[in-house]
Symmetry: C2
Subunit: 126 residues, 2 copies
């Protein structure tokens, strides 16, 4: 099982890869059979090609991710983090407030990601 | 299914009940067959008596909970929140950084709670 520090480094690597628009680095964090449920309550993307297609589309938004609080680990093989998705939309700046929960395999890859956010977590900024 | 606002109100009610040491109000937020896995990676407490015993013990610590970021809802029947557990220990003040994920039944009760934190999320403050 991964150490807490190893899980937190992978979570931070996810934020960093996203923010440099580095699709390959981001997808490499996932296991081949990983699932991504973003947002929770929608059909999961299953397997690396589907996961890669999801992030390729997401990155086109130009969104940037900013941690809202320090990344949490767990006593098991999972970790969680609260962050803000910062968006520049034609209508102005907006934010989506998200909590991601990842589970890990022993190689340190994400086997599942679940993103908790809903319509009420999106907000236009002044 | 609950609305996002309803889920967030229940999450806030959990924080508020905990901070007034109101065990009855806190346990009333849970369904009879609820499970509590705190921290994730340990054996879950199953059913209301076990859940009540867990919180009765937890409240003896005098801990106070402070949201670290706004509560997140989801498009499904779950919500998540990042908060700090503030502790006054004989050795001084300490904090545990936690993310709780709750799932809800249609009556608005928690059917499961999972608390993501590990040893690395505990910190002694100056």
């Amino acid at each position: 099982m991964l150490s807490e520090d190893q899980m937190k480094l992978q979570m931070q690597a996810y934020i960093d890869a996203y923010n440099r628009d580095d699709l390959d680095a981001l997808v490499a964090l996932y296991a081949d059979d990983a699932t991504v449920e973003d947002p929770v309550g929608t059909a999961p993307k299953i397997g690396k090609p589907a996961v890669a297609a999801f992030y390729q589309m997401a990155m086109k938004s130009g969104a940037r991710l900013a941690l809202a609080a320090p990344i949490r680990a767990s006593h098991g093989s999972s970790a969680a983090m609260a962050f803000d998705v910062q968006l520049n939309m034609p209508q102005g700046k907006a934010v989506i407030r998200v909590i991601d929960v990842m589970t890990f395999n022993d190689a340190g890859q994400f086997v599942s990601m679940r993103a908790y956010w809903g319509r009420s977590d999106m907000q236009m900024l002044a």
